[in-house]
Amino acid sequence: MSALGVFSTANLNGGQKLGLKYLIVSLALFGAQILFGLLAGLQFLMPDFLFGVVDFSVNRTLHVNALVVWLLYGFIGGVYFMLEDEAKHPVVGLGLGNLIFWVLTAAVVVVVLVYLLVQVGPGEMSTIWFINEGREYIEAPRWADIGIVVSMLVFFFNVVATFSKGRYTGIAGVLVLDLMALAGLYLAGMTYTPNISMDQFWWWWVIHLWVEATWEVLVGCIMAYMLIETMGVRRKIVETWLYIEVALMFGSGILGLGHHYFWIGTPEYWLTIGGFFSALEPVPLVAMVVHALFDSGVHRMKNSNHPALGWTISQAAGNFFGAGVFGFMHTLPQINLYTHGTQWSASHGHLAFFGAYSTAVIGFFYLAAQKSRGNVWMSGNLPGNGWKWKWGMALLWIGMIGMTMALLIAGYEQSQIERAIEGSTWMGYFAAQGHPWFTQAMNWRQISGYGFLLGYVLLVWDLLTIGKGETRPAEVINSEAH
């Protein structure tokens, strides 16, 4: 181990070294997501901007694909980072895990280059395999899909084999089951059918069930580890609540899939299923307010990593507002008929993804930064009173709230003018797009996006410098935590 306050991979175990690589790429891809989002946003305001160079469709694809991939890299990085600590055993098959990291990262680069270099052309079976599969969020061509599944299987092998040879904890049990679903569900998005309803039916299995089932559980496992590490919460309590939350999430989340099936040509009973679960899905989320307050009363927020805890708290709040409030506002079919696929969805999507997932991964970035510098002090009394992480977090949140509210206004206008008044006609679409409420909202969205970018720059600067030269070791919160 090198000196305190000095960045060195010698401070990390094998799994953490591999995890750190994933987290670094994740942070870079987060930046790419913001960059392409800003370019796409500018094209809403200036449709000719970069037309024929990087078209809106390509910017949007890169924006949403980068979202999926940076979060996935963050989750994988988080799991590798905690794996040896959790299993009390070196990662089994670490060499293979490292090889797959480089292969997967090279594949991501190739896919992005192909998106940029081949922007228009015929849609044929060969393009599905080599250029673009055409399904939003998972546009990656078939060869990359297969690569993603193989990578997930290797990741799964690393995790299962390590836990099998080492300690098998409650977190391990949940994680292993979840990773099986993570690899398996992705297969549902790889079938080809010319029937758009059937295509959408399976596509949602990846989009909804990945996000509202496997990712939620992954985040639950990562957050469980973070609570043990940074707050010294006892393992038994964390694991009990992990089981409870997984059960609640599966109970309400899986068939919440129904609200995506409302208007895509599926049988009418999906309105019943979707309506039922849409109405009741927020109940566990609201009830968990009790748990959050109870735990904060017990632990009084004593912790060894202020930035990580700050982001953890903002995760709870962001998830509540993004998924709960902004989701329920437009999820009943009686209103969703008008809001589905408008900027309402984008508003909900921005806040929910950032609130539920981005915050958790950013929290883990700080945990990794702390360990990479020899597990240095990151509690109170940080140099400069920790202004960089605080302002970084504030700007990211202000930017996100600004974008969310602007999109909300745009979506409200769209749902009224395009959908309700104009009856979803082509003319209605353009009437809504040209309306002053819409264009003003797009301007505010763009301005908020610049604020978000500034927050990202501060975040990166802080992650590169926090703990540098720090000579105090991390505060010991609870030595019995493991």
Binding site: K236, T240, P284, V286, V289, F294, F320
Partner: protein
């Protein structure tokens, strides 16, 4: 089951009342838990006042979204009211039980904020 679309004039009412369902639900849960955690029974009526606000929001949403025009949707409204009412109670019991187990195991949370003495 009938899905009767919301009238244009009721759009805002639906959005606002739906948001209020979640926010008053959270306020109810927050006050309920705080009252018990800090043993301040005077706050409990405020918790139930928040639940009353939730009930009003659910009713307003149901009216604006035409939920009372169909038996299935009326049943859903009832389930929502029941679910939001009992869920904080259930989670509270789980919290107390898990922390009680911690005491049985011979461990105590590491500061004076331990509310394991609290009983529902």
């Amino acid at each position: 089951m009938i899905v009767e679309p919301v009238a244009l004039a009721n759009f805002f009412t639906v959005f606002f009342s739906a948001a209020m369902v979640i926010l008053t639900g959270a306020t109810y849960a927050l006050l309920f838990a705080y009252s018990r955690l800090r043993q301040r029974p005077r706050l409990m009526p405020l918790a139930y006042l928040a639940y009353f606000g939730l009930s009003v929001s659910v009713y307003t949403l149901a009216q604006a979204a035409n939920l009372f025009n169909d038996t299935f949707w009326t049943f859903i409204v009832g389930l929502m009211l029941l679910g939001y009412f009992v869920a904080p109670h259930g989670v509270w019991h789980l919290c107390v039980a898990t922390h009680d187990q911690e005491s049985v195991d011979g461990h105590k949370p590491h500061d004076e904020g331990n509310p394991s003495f609290v009983r529902s």
